[in-house]
């Protein structure tokens, strides 16, 4: 059985109305209903961080948010990070520091790191690791990711 609803939200700065199922998570709505596939599913239970988005400025796992809950909310995904001027310093630092290999965790890391730098513009290495511990990366051993985040903080 499908049970559809219309949700109105602001997604990456643009007001958007979309059709979703009552059962949809925000992650499913973003990927399968809206077509914003930059946000990734890694575990679907809040343990990998690949689906990280900002909801009203706050870092959340979009797999653990019901689509119905974003009615009226402001959501930022990886697709909404770059500006008219180009990549943000975090994105640039990830490229320069080779902070991604396969790239599947990268959207979640960028969004989570953005939230970190918004909350704490000059994190220590420990603070960056602590904040990002909910984002799993299996390729890099985190070394270059942490370096990129700390470099972006300096920018």
């Amino acid at each position: 059985m499908t049970d559809r609803m219309i949700v109105s939200a602001t997604i990456n700065g643009e007001p958007l109305e979309f059709l979703a199922d009552q059962r949809d998570s925000l992650l499913e709505a973003l990927r399968e209903r809206i077509g914003l596939t930059g946000t990734k599913e890694g575990c679907n239970d809040g343990n990998c961080g690949a689906c990280s988005v900002l909801m009203d400025g706050r870092l959340v796992n979009s797999c653990l948010v019901m689509a119905a809950e974003v009615e009226g909310a402001d959501v930022t995904t990886v697709e909404g990070l770059a500006t008219e001027d180009g990549l943000i310093p975090l994105q640039q630092a990830f490229l320069e520091e080779a902070a991604l290999q396969c790239g599947i965790c990268t959207p979640g890391f960028l969004v989570a790191a953005k939230a970190l730098l918004d909350a704490n513009p000059n994190p220590t290495e420990y603070e960056a690791r602590y904040w990002l511990a909910g984002n799993l990366c299996r390729c890099t051993g985190y070394d270059k990711i942490i370096r990129a985040v700390l470099k972006a903080a300096e920018a």
Binding site: T2, T37, G42, D45, L81, L95, A98, Q101, R138, G141
Partner: protein
């Protein structure tokens, strides 16, 4: 191939350009398999077995088919039934088509919890999931076999009535049937060098220990996916995150029993593989359901299914015995390995056996290995398959021998180091290798020489070896009028190989890395290319790029000769352009690559280079790691304070991604060492099939990982590349075990060395 000394004059190789696919991957634009979307697309879901071992008595799909929104339901019986022929599954391994199909959808029996039983396609993902609840499967539950030693017992329940033990001579290649009775022991491997018994007689010190490891998963963050569209003309297009698009094409065509030309695999990005995304799970289901429904069908796997039903690496039982003289000279070794294959034969026992003693000259060695089926998922390749386990056991014993002899662990290793010309116990003779060089760098490193202070802290070292493989890769390069080159490749880019391959083309042509546009293309648009695996992609892909650049250079020389109207032999390519004989005014003729590219259209047309390389040789890789740990004796927890990894890369094409491979391998090795394991209950159900309880290291579990790249160029490659991806996962577990022993005097011989396991050793027995 031409042997190369590493010149100082590389322009591109050894630099760190931004990867060509980078922007797509930091903006969310890159398309991974699960991102596939199409109008009218159906969503697929898989029903999985709740039992570890059961006979399927019946499957009734009628209620599921009747559910509103369901468009198709399939079981094993809907596939054309295969014969018992063998099919290639990548990296030289083969399996029977029957086993492959039965692993995709169970046939007569389910052989592990999570084994796929039926598949559904519906208009909505939630509806597809609802339909699974409506499929009725009647099982006759059988006793599961969950321990590899029990599975070898002749009274153990047998998984496959037709299975007989096969004796094999090496990890690569077949053997002969030696068993007469039904058994779970699929394969037996044995090789001997010298006389092990006599070698132990000569020894002043002999250490023999037992080890176990549990299954460990590759843990790629992207679950498996597979989408397909079966066109009305019978042509199937597949979108799947895979390490090898050609392999997926061949295997899917095999199961559908259609010619390979009827299947095209689209090049989608892949979110990590580490060996686990070489086989097929969902692609044939999507294809068959698309055929039935006429619609595109997309399957994505749950994390639970990834852990329960895709290939981890084998759990093992091992015994290692090493003998040495008082001066530290090794005299003999005996290695006994039993590897879990999972539900169908094919563990990496052979590679584990061949790697076990690889860093050393062991005059007398006896190595035995067993490949044993049991009611766990069919294992898949996982980064240096087999080596982390067997080398963990050997490196732990080597450390103990050095300790008993009161020798510095690196001095002991250096004394016995395998060098060019050394013969491995399996018979292979090394060419130019960097083993000793790596050991020397470890020994002289600031980390190794530094003093480690503090209570409950210790330092450990370990070596690692992996063969690396070559095999077939293709490249197609076309020169553009603006002086750039479009490069088509067949290798999935999992970690920056577009860049590392493009750089070798750029180096060969003398142009900038940024002037190459590498693209991964579909299986109809480039020549056959083997999997991204075996640490082979930068090696073989780069070689193909080099050959295609040489092809372009030859054509450019011809074209310049024509433009200048001089003899072909008078023109040569070098330093990023062509030079020719002096003109009538005595001025030397020359054109840069860019200048000549701009003249191609008007002088006969554009130029393309192509190449297909197929090398059965590759450059072996050695690694040496140093780790400092602190143990909390009250909780059994091990914290990693400092980590240094030294590795011979041959030539580091893009050092940042070489470092990244090393650091990633270390992280996986640390997980294997300390926290990752498969928990099964007595009924064979996996208890920790989530990323909450399958504990992969987080950013907070690791320090920065220092890397030292050693470059002993591989004479068998135009740029000296060896391959770097796999070997760094090998040393972490033994290095950490040795560090724990140094810290608190406790030798841990079972992986993972979890706090629970540590406390078992540290606490007195319950009263």
């Amino acid at each position: 191939m031409v042997a190369t000394e590493k010149p100082d004059s590389y322009q591109v190789v050894g630099t760190r350009p931004i990867r060509h696919d980078g922007t797509d991957k930091v903006t969310g634009r890159a398309g991974y398999g699960a991102d596939y979307q199409a109008a009218g697309m159906l969503f697929g879901r898989v029903l999985r077995s709740p039992h570890a071992h059961a006979r399927i008595k019946s499957i009734d799909t009628s209620k599921a088919e009747a559910l509103e929104g369901v468009r198709g339901v399939i079981t094993n019986a809907d596939f054309p039934q295969p014969d018992d022929s063998q099919v290639e599954i990548g990296e030289g391994a083969t399996t029977s088509a029957r086993w492959m199909l039965d692993n995709v959808l169970a046939g007569e029996k389910v052989l592990y919890t999570g084994h796929a039983v039926a598949a559904v396609a519906a208009i909505d993902p939630h509806v597809a999931e609802d339909a699974l609840d409506l499929i009725e499967v009647e099982y006759e539950v059988l006793e599961p076999v969950m321990d590899v030693r029990e599975a070898m017992d002749e009274n153990a329940p047998v998984l496959h009535e037709f299975l007989r033990t096969e004796q094999i001579a090496s990890a690569f290649g077949g053997g002969e049937m030696v068993g007469a009775k039904p058994t779970n022991v699929a394969k037996f491997l044995e090789f001997k060098a010298g006389d092990a018994d006599a070698g132990f007689e000569e020894a002043d010190v002999v250490v023999e220990r037992e080890f176990t490891t549990t299954m460990a998963h590759q843990g790629y963050i992207e679950p498996h996916n597979g989408s397909a569209f079966y066109n009305k003309d019978g042509h199937v297009t597949i979108w799947s995150s895979t390490q090898g698009a050609f392999g997926v094409r061949d295997m899917t065509a095999g199961l559908l029993q259609v010619p390979v030309s009827q299947v095209t695999c689209e090049p989608v990005e892949i979110g990590g593989g580490f060996g686990g995304k070489i086989g097929i799970y969902l692609e044939p289901l999507a294809a068959l359901l698309s055929k039935q429904t006429g619609k595109p069908v997309k399957f994505t796997m749950t994390r639970q299914a990834v852990l329960e039903a895709t290939g981890p690496t084998s759990g093992t039982y091992m015994r290692v015995k090493v003998g040495a003289k008082n001066d530290g000279t090794l005299t003999a070794a005996h290695v006994y390995l039993v590897f879990e294959a999972g539900a169908y034969p094919g563990s990496p026992m052979g590679a584990g056996a061949m790697c076990a003693l690889a860093p050393y000259q062991v005059p007398n060695a006896h190595v035995e290995g067993y490949d044993v089926v049991l009611n766990k998922p069919k294992v898949a390749a996982y980064r240096a398959p087999g080596a982390p386990a067997s080398e963990y056991a050997v490196e732990s014993v080597m450390d103990e021998v050095a300790q008993q002899l009161e020798l510095d662990p690196m001095d002991f290793r250096l004394k016995n180091a395998a060098v060019e010309g050394s013969r491995r116990p399996d018979g292979a003779v090394y060419g130019v290798i960097g083993n000793e060089e790596v050991m020397e760098v470890v020994k002289s490193s600031e980390h190794y020489r530094s003093e480690l202070q503090g209570e409950n802290r210790g330092r450990g070292v370990a070596m690692g070896f992996w063969f690396n493989v070559g095999m077939e890769s293709s490249a197609y390069a076309s020169v553009n009028a603006d002086g750039t080159v479009s490069l088509s490749l067949g290798s999935a880019d999992i970690g920056g190989t577009r860049a590392s391959i493009a750089m070798q083309l750029a180096e060969t042509l003398g142009i900038a890395a940024e002037d190459v546009k590498p693209q991964v293309v579909d299986t109809d648009s480039v020549g056959y290319t083997m999997v991204t695996g075996g640490s082979r992609t930068t090696f073989a892909g780069g070689w193909a790029a080099y050959e295609s650049a040489m092809d372009i250079r030859r054509q450019l020389e011809e074209r310049a000769a024509a433009i200048w109207d001089v003899d072909r032999e008078q023109v040569s390519y070098g330093d990023g352009g062509v030079t020719g004989p002096a003109d009538d005014d005595g001025n030397e003729r020359s054109m840069t690559f860019k200048e000549l590219a701009g003249q191609l259209a008007g002088s006969g047309g554009m130029i393309q280079g192509r190449a297909d390389v197929n090398s059965m040789e590759a450059g072996p890789a050695f690694a040496g790691h140093i780790v400092d740990v602190e143990v909390d004796p009250e909780t059994g927890k091990v914290d990693i304070l400092r980590y240094t990894a030294v590795q011979d890369a041959g030539t580091a094409i893009h050092p940042s991604y070489v470092e990244g491979q090393i650091q990633g391998g270390v992280a996986q090795g640390v997980g294997m060492a300390l926290t990752e394991e498969y928990f099964y209950d007595d009924d064979g159900r996996m208890l920790n099939s989530s990323l909450l309880d399958y504990r992969m290291p987080t950013a907070l579990d690791l320090p920065m990982i220092e890397t030292h790249i050693v470059e002993v160029p591989n004479p068998g490659h135009p740029y000296g590349v060896r391959g770097v991806g796999e070997v760094p996962i090998v040393p972490p577990a033994p290095a950490i075990a040795n560090a724990i022993a140094d810290a608190i005097g406790l030798r841990m011989r079972d992986l993972p060395m979890s706090p629970r396991a540590m406390l078992e050793e540290l606490l007195p027995d319950e009263d």
